[in-house]
Structures are given as structure tokens and as C-alpha cells.
């Protein structure tokens, strides 16, 4: 009797293992590999033979070529501007002794709670044609060009301040880890403030700066909402072009090849980064580190200059946020004319959001997609992490690498691959058409979140003391019981944190969403983008403000949940 039970048990675990393996094989082929391969195939193979017609079409389209040039121009410019601003911010926040830095930091942190399309919309609200600041300037200088905030300069300006988040997070962490004793040692040898920064502090930060630079370059290359909203006719980059070309069937191949170019650039850069990380990392030799102390700038003029720059940056960062919040409490008249008057303040916009379902609808749709995808991704990656932790062989390696594929590819390419592959019935999906369906966006959201989630959860799993599992086994617990009672509770906090971050990231996504959303279910990012169109109604603009404020609140809560409580 007992051996039958045992046999049954063993057989059922085997069966479960087989089912899981089959599921992952199907998932990886259907969503991570085949669409991307198919994209290449449909672009380069016409009527069964290799064809470079798409390349020819690309080269002969001056708009497409221009967009490529623009993207690289933007990426290179951003590398410089963002590093200058970003490193300055990090030094001001962590290294120099600056008066009022606590308040200033709040301003610099704003990009953490609003980014992407929401941020660009906010800048347009301030600097755009009917923007608050533009109105103000036009009032002071008659004949001021109200259309000033457009093109290369505008895109560069918006994006420079939009993507310093990486510096504020990663570089700040790195500078806090600089061994203060090395700074004191340099001082004792008579080095000046700026000499120390140049020769001691920045070299220690070099690996982080390098990694952040690569990220900036990639963000610059794949810029979407900034050029779309403030780029105007003359400055469009790759992604907006792909969007335009993808809309018509005849030019889809140009869209595809553009996305492939973007993909190749991304892969080359990421591999380059990986290589540099593998062999170029310096290791601090100090055993007893002391934490960094704020440095007072000795030179009076330099001190004043740094203070002025710090406060100016604060204004640039804080102004859009403050104005969005203020104007979200005003009526349509104020929003339309970008003027403020006490008797025009109202709560109507908020009331509308919470009483009128059509106003709340985009929120509802975005929350549903983000929450569902965040949950499913965590479920999948938990399973993968557990498999990776328990087994190490060629299949699990393959599984891990496959899960990381979306990290190598720009989301535009992933989106196009899905669109082109599943716009007709396909046996992989039981002959269902995915393109244009409600499910498309969910699938894409899941795909793009996989790499980050897997990295985090795998790390969480691997930091668990292995003897916990052995102890449970020694006390007689089965592997499932151990997972449920011991391991899961241990990694639950990081799991929830990753889930919240994922949810927050996707909530107002535009860049990926715009390719895939079901037209009847417009998510938040899409609605916010449309509110920046010149023909958008004032009501739409008012709602955009409210959407943005609520998003900021949600992001703040999310970030507090993830990071804030830990520091206590």
C-alpha cells in the first residue's frame, strides 16, 4: 500500500514538472522568441528569398533617415547634459554642504514620482504655446514667439531633467559608499576641494557613471513621448517614426527595420556595458569605511555659484509639479488662459474624476492592466526563481537566458514583433488573433517586466540562507511545505516591493502602450498624451492635470511603501 502511495507521489511530481516545463517552453517560444524572429523574417525574407528591399526603402525615405540621425544626435547630447546635471545634483545632495538641501532634494526627487508622458505633458503645460510661463514671458516681452518651446532644444531640455532619476538613485548610492578616509587622506596631503572631486571622488564613481551613461544613451535612442509632444515637425526620432510607419500596412516594413536598427544599437551597447562591468570594476580595498561627511566649499565665489545653480535647478524641477498641482484645483477658464485668480479655484476636476465613470475609465483600464500584469509576472518569476535555485543545468540556464531576452530588445521592437506575428491566426495561440485584442497589452506588459522582476526575485531567493531549507528538511518538512511556510514568507517583502514597482512603472506607460492598446480601451498614458494635442479640449486638459496629480500621489505612496519604510 505504502509503495503505491510513494509511487503515486513520485509520479505526480514528475507530471507536475513535465507540465511546468511544457508551459515554459510554450511561453518562451510564443512570446519571447518567435515574434522577434518572425519580425526579422517578414522584414528580410520576401517570397522565400532574402531581400534587402526594406533597407532600400529605409534609405530612400528621407524622414526615416533623418529620424535615425536625430535619435543618435539626441542620445549623444543627452549623455552630456544629463551627466552634467546629474553629477551636479548628486554632489549637491550628498557631497557639498548646501543650505536648505533637504527642501532642494525634494525638488530633485520629483522625477521619481512623475516621468514619461506625464512629465512631458507637464512641461508642455508650462512652456508650451499656451503655457503658463510662455504667457508670462509674452506678457513681459511683446512679440515673444509663443511657439518657442519646440524642436531639438525643447526635447533635449525636457529629457535632460526627466532622466536624472538614475543619477539620483544609483549615483547617490555609489557616492555614499565612497570611503571618507580616502577623502581625508587626500585633504591631509593638501589637495583642494575640486582636486579631490576630480581625482578621488569621481574616479571611485566611474563604474556607476559609466553604467548610467549607457542607460541615458539607450533612453535617448528610444525617446518616444518627448519628441512626439514637443519635437514638432522638424525633430522626430526613431520611435515616433516607427509609430507613424507602423500605422499603414505598406510602410510597416520600414517600421520593422527601424526597430531592428534600434534593437541592434541597444544590444551592442548593453553587451559593451556587460563587458565593462565584468572586467572594469574597481574594488575598494578599505576594510573599515567611514561614511562621507558634507564638505563646505571653501572658495566664497565657488560656494555662491554652486548655491545659485542648485536653487535654479530646484526651480526647474519643482515648477511643473507645483503648477500642475495648483492648476488641477482651478476651473477651465484658468487652465485655458493659464492665469491664476483666487475666485477660479475649485474642486470640480477631482469631483469629476471620482463621480463620472467616463473620466475615471482610463484609470480603471490602466490599473487593471498594470495590476494584472504585475501579479502574473511575479507568479511566473517566482516559479522560475525557485527552479533556478533548485536546479542548475543546461535547461535552467536556457530558461534564465530566455527570460532575459526582453532586456536586450527595445520595447518598440517587441511590440512590432507581436503585432506582425499575431495579426493572423497562429497555431501557437490556438489560432487566436492577438493584434487588436484586449489581451495584447497584457501580454506585452508581462513580457517587458520579466527581466527586471526575475533579476530582483532571483537575487532575493539566492540571498536566503541555504541552511533554512536544509533545516526544514531535517525537521521533516516536504519541499512544498518548506516553500510555503519558510521561503515564501522570507522573500514576500521583496516580492511585494517588486510588484508595487512594476505596477507603478506600467500605470502611465505610453511608449509601449501606444503600439498595442485596444482602441476602445484607452489607457491613461494615451489619454494624457492626447490632452497635449493642440486640438484637445480644455476639459481634457483639466482632467490631465488631475490624472497627473493622482499619479504622483500613487507613485509617492508606492515608493514610500518600497523604500521609505526600510530606512527607518
Amino acid at each position: 500500500m505504502q509503495w503505491i502511495n510513494k509511487w503515486k507521489g513520485a509520479a505526480s511530481t514528475k507530471l507536475a514538472g513535465l507540465l511546468i516545463a511544457l508551459f515554459f517552453a510554450w511561453f518562451i517560444v510564443s512570446f519571447l522568441i518567435y515574434p522577434n524572429v518572425n519580425l526579422l523574417k517578414t522584414t528580410f525574407i520576401i517570397d522565400g528569398s532574402l531581400s534587402l528591399e526594406a533597407v532600400n526603402k529605409l534609405v530612400s525615405s528621407s524622414r526615416a533617415v533623418q529620424s535615425l540621425i536625430n535619435s543618435f544626435l539626441l542620445a549623444v547630447s543627452l549623455v552630456m547634459t544629463v551627466n552634467i546635471v546629474g553629477i551636479f545634483l548628486v554632489l549637491v545632495m550628498n557631497y557639498f554642504d548646501i543650505k536648505g538641501i533637504r527642501v532642494l532634494s525634494l525638488g530633485y526627487y520629483t522625477t521619481l514620482i512623475y516621468s514619461g508622458v506625464v512629465l512631458v505633458a507637464g512641461y508642455k503645460f508650462l512652456y508650451g504655446e499656451q503655457g503658463f510661463l510662455t504667457n508670462l514671458l509674452a506678457g513681459i516681452f511683446p512679440g515673444f514667439d509663443t511657439g518657442w518651446f519646440t524642436g531639438y532644444g525643447a526635447v533635449l531640455f525636457v529629457m535632460t531633467f526627466a532622466i536624472t532619476s538614475n543619477h539620483v538613485i544609483f549615483l547617490s548610492n555609489a557616492i555614499k559608499k565612497v570611503d571618507y578616509q580616502t577623502i581625508e587622506a587626500a585633504k591631509s596631503m593638501g589637495a583642494s576641494d575640486f582636486y579631490i572631486i576630480r581625482r578621488v571622488v569621481l574616479p571611485a564613481l566611474k563604474p556607476t557613471i559609466f553604467a548610467v551613461t549607457i542607460l541615458i544613451f539607450l533612453i535617448g535612442l528610444s525617446a518616444t513621448s518627448a519628441p512626439l509632444i514637443v519635437g514638432g515637425q522638424e525633430f522626430q526620432t526613431i520611435n515616433p517614426m516607427i509609430l507613424t510607419f507602423a500605422k499603414s500596412v505598406t510602410s510597416r516594413d520600414i517600421a520593422a527595420i527601424l526597430s531592428i536598427v534600434l534593437g541592434i544599437a541597444t544590444m551592442v551597447l548593453l553587451m559593451f556595458m556587460q563587458r565593462m562591468e565584468n572586467n572594469g570594476n574597481f574594488i575598494s580595498v578599505s576594510k573599515v569605511k567611514s561614511t562621507i561627511k558634507k564638505q563646505k566649499i571653501e572658495n566664497k565665489w565657488a560656494n555662491a555659484l554652486v548655491h545659485i545653480a542648485a536653487y535654479l535647478l530646484f526651480v526647474i524641477y519643482a515648477l511643473p509639479v507645483v503648477l500642475i498641482i495648483i492648476f488641477s484645483f482651478t476651473d477651465t477658464f484658468s487652465i485655458e488662459n493659464a492665469t491664476l485668480a483666487l475666485d477660479h479655484f475649485t474642486l470640480d476636476n477631482y469631483l469629476l474624476l471620482f463621480t463620472d465613470f467616463s473620466a475615471f475609465r482610463p484609470y480603471f483600464i490602466s490599473i487593471a492592466y498594470s495590476a494584472a500584469s504585475a501579479f502574473i509576472v511575479v507568479m511566473i518569476t517566482l516559479l522560475v526563481s525557485r527552479i533556478l535555485q533548485r536546479h542548475k543545468n543546461i535547461y535552467t540556464q536556457l530558461l534564465e537566458y530566455s527570460m532575459m531576452i526582453p532586456w536586450l530588445l527595445p520595447s518598440t521592437l517587441i511590440a512590432l514583433g507581436l503585432i506582425l506575428t499575431y495579426d493572423k491566426p497562429n497555431s501557437l495561440l490556438g489560432n487566436q488573433v492577438l493584434t487588436g485584442s484586449v489581451w495584447m497589452l497584457l501580454v506585452a506588459y508581462i513580457i517587458v517586466q520579466l527581466p527586471f522582476t526575475l533579476r530582483m526575485l532571483k537575487a532575493a531567493f539566492f540571498t536566503i540562507d541555504h541552511s533554512l531549507e536544509e533545516a526544514a528538511k531535517n525537521l521533516g518538512a516536504s519541499s512544498m511545505y518548506t516553500f510555503r511556510r519558510i521561503l515564501l514568507p522570507v522573500i514576500l517583502p521583496s516580492t511585494l516591493a517588486v510588484m508595487v514597482l512594476n505596477f507603478n512603472n506600467m500605470l502611465a506607460d505610453y511608449d509601449l502602450t501606444v503600439f498595442l492598446f485596444q482602441p476602445l480601451l484607452e489607457p491613461l498614458g494615451i489619454v494624457i498624451k492626447s490632452s497635449t494635442d493642440p486640438q484637445a479640449s480644455t476639459d481634457a486638459k483639466a482632467l490631465m492635470l488631475v490624472y497627473s496629480v493622482v499619479l504622483m500621489v500613487i507613485s509617492s505612496v508606492a515608493l514610500y511603501f518600497v523604500y521609505g519604510r526600510k530606512s527607518k
Binding site: 533554512l468 536544509e470 533545516a471 528538511k473 531535517n474 525537521l475 518538512a477 519558510i486
Partner: protein, 349 residues
């Protein structure tokens, strides 16, 4: 009670434990001692069932347990990190194994409280998170969690290694007392020779997957069977050729110059002592080269016939040596341990 019979354990091509034969008696505190990578932990884990021998068999009370799964062996383990479950409180940690066995709730409660009382954990401590306990309390929880299942054997894998020195000594005493109180057979793994000497009834010294010597702490220390054991345990002097020549001169031969001769530091005397018969005592003269003061004792280095011999002298208030002093040195030849060049075995006595 426990018997390892011709056990060999491989990790791939690497032989971690080679042809192991070992007997552990009932209620014994038995220590596996050796440097890291010597196979002691692997041996322990094979007893628990985490690793499987590629050859040989393990018996427990005459029963062959070589292929028995971990949970059926009734061997409980205390881990190096204690491996207390951080998300469960102290009570739940101790109750874990009983709960897995589906023991009725009241019985679990009775057993847990009973065990907690025995290891001196209070009612309030049972409700605490494990992270709120001190190192000593954590050790008691780990032991309670292991013992509540009434195992046949308790195995401990370097449970004191990541504690600071003072706590280590205190917990060592506590551990020994608990083992005596429960009267359980304990297998203990450590690389710390002092720990092994103070705790154990018997010790097995491991080196490169092979047991070099099994014996009581005194046997291991004073009559090390191999050169490795004699070097691994305690500080020791190797007698260089000029001293060996002197030895042969005074004792009338018998000490081969190409053999290796050792004498423990505390067996090197600078005062003629009472017990030893004159005939068996070697007398040397040396000059004090260096002195390291440790408080309780001082470690001296003497230059003897061009070679260095060290000893330790208790700081008992008697006149100390000064650097440069000429000092008489006495060594009882019974304290000299000799090993042949290749086959290292003892030829003293």
C-alpha cells in the same frame, strides 16, 4: 552506536572523504576536527542524509541508514547559522517539526513548553521573533528545535564559529551542559582545536578526507599519531638537526637526523623540575631572543645551537627572562614526538 563502514564520498571527480571507518558510542560527545575542506562537514552531512556516500555504509544502532531519506533518520541538526526561521516566532520554530509530523495541537504545546523550560527559555521569549534574541538564546532555540523531535543523535555543524570570542566560551559551556543533561549522543564539527579539546569525549582528526587519529583529547594532544595531528593541535617546536645531534650525544643515540622530532612549547622548561628522572632529561643552553607578553603567560624564543626553540612561561611573579639572557633549557625525552620521513607514525614510547 554509529558506524561508518568504508565510506567514500565524491563530489564529481573530487574525493571528499576516503575510506572512512568510524565508531561513535552511545551518549558520547564526539568531535570531527580538521582544517576547512578536510571532509569533516561532508561526513556529518552524510550522517544527516544531505549527501550520499558513493561507497560504503552507515549504520545507526545496527540499522543500515545509508539510503534512508533525511526525515526518517531521526538525526537532528544544529546549523552553523542556526537556520532559525526568521518569519516564525520562537514557539513556532520549536514546534515546526512536530507540526510537520501532524502531532495533535495540545501535545505540540506540551512538548514545546516542556522543551523550552529545559533549555531555559521563558514564556515571553517563546513569543518573540528569533531576531530579537541574543546569540545564546538563539543557540538554545536551535537546540530545542532539534531535540523536541527526540532524535537518536544530535549533530552540530560549527555552531559557535560566527560568534565573538567571549560568547563562544560561554556558549561552549552551555552546550556541553545541555548535552550531558539530555544524555544524547552528539556529533560536533569544528576547526577550532581548543573547542574540540574542551568539549569532546573523543575526537577524530581529519585531513584531506582521511581520518588521521581518533582518540580522547589527551591522547590526541600528547600522543599525536601523525605529524599532521601534532602540528594541527597546539603550538609546537620542531627540533632542528643541531639539537637532534645534541640529543643523540647526551642520550647515547637513537634519534635519526632525517626523522622529524617535535616537542610542545609548554614541555620546554627553563627550570629543573621535580618529577623527571635526570637520565631522561635533555639539557640545552640558549639565549633569549624574543619575548611576547600575553598576560597570563609569556612566549619566549631561545636561540639554541643556531636554531630557535620556543616555550611559554606562566607569569606567576617569579623572575622573568630578559632578552639576551643565557638560560638553561630542559626537555624530557618522553615529550619528544618523532615521525618518520614518509610514513608518519609515532615512535615515541
Amino acid at each position: 552506536m554509529i558506524e561508518f563502514k568504508n565510506v567514500q564520498i565524491n563530489y564529481g571527480d573530487f574525493v571528499a572523504v576516503k575510506n572512512l571507518n568510524l565508531n561513535v558510542r552511545e551518549r558520547e560527545f564526539f568531535t570531527l576536527l580538521g582544517p576547512s575542506g578536510c571532509g569533516k562537514t561532508t561526513t556529518l552531512r552524510s550522517l544527516v542524509g544531505f549527501v550520499h556516500p558513493s561507497q560504503g555504509e552507515i549504520f545507526l544502532n545496527g540499522e543500515n541508514i545509508t539510503s534512508l531519506p533525511v526525515e526518517k533518520r531521526e538525526v537532528s541538526m544544529v546549523f552553523q547559522s542556526y537556520a532559525l526561521f526568521p518569519t516564525l516566532d520562537v514557539y513556532e520554530n520549536i514546534a515546526f517539526g512536530l507540526k510537520v509530523k501532524k502531532v495533535p495541537k495540545q501535545e505540540i504545546d506540551r512538548e514545546v513548553r516542556d522543551m523550552a523550560a529545559k533549555v531555559d527559555l521563558s514564556e515571553e521569549q517563546l513569543k518573540k521573533k528569533v531576531s530579537e534574541l541574543s546569540g545564546g538564546q538563539q543557540q538554545r532555540v536551535a537546540i530545542a528545535r532539534a531535540l523536541v523531535l527526540k532524535p537518536r543523535i544530535l549533530v552540530l555543524d560549527e555552531p559557535l564559529s560566527n560568534l565573538d570570542a567571549r560568547l563562544r566560551v560561554q556558549l561552549r559551556r552551555e552546550l556541553k551542559n545541555l548535552q550531558k543533561q539530555f544524555g544524547i549522543t552528539a556529533i560536533y564539527v569544528t576547526h577550532d582545536q581548543e573547542e574540540a579539546l574542551t568539549l569532546s569525549d573523543r575526537i577524530a582528526v581529519f585531513n584531506k578526507g582521511v581520518v588521521e587519529q581518533v582518540g580522547t583529547p589527551k591522547e590526541i594532544y600528547s600522543h599525536s599519531e601523525t605529524e599532521f595531528v601534532c602540528n594541527f593541535i597546539g603550538d609546537i617546536n620542531r627540533l632542528e638537526t643541531p639539537v637532534v645531534k645534541e640529543l643523540n650525544e647526551q642520550m647515547g643515540g637513537g634519534y635519526l637526523e632525517h626523522d622529524r622530532h617535535y616537542v610542545r612549547m609548554e614541555r620546554v622548561h627553563t627550570r629543573q623540575w621535580q618529577g623527571g628522572k635526570e637520565a631522561s632529561v635533555l639539557k640545552l643552553t640558549g639565549r633569549v631572543e624574543d619575548a611576547e607578553f600575553y598576560g597570563v603567560y609569556t612566549k619566549y624564543s631561545f636561540l639554541v645551537n643556531g636554531t630557535v626553540i620556543k616555550n611559554i612561561e606562566r607569569e606567576d611573579g617569579r623572575a622573568p627572562h630578559n632578552i639576551g639572557d643565557e638560560v638553561d633549557i630542559y626537555i624530557d625525552i618522553h615529550d619528544v614526538m618523532t615521525y618518520r620521513e614518509r610514513h608518519s607514525y609515532a615512535v615515541d614510547q
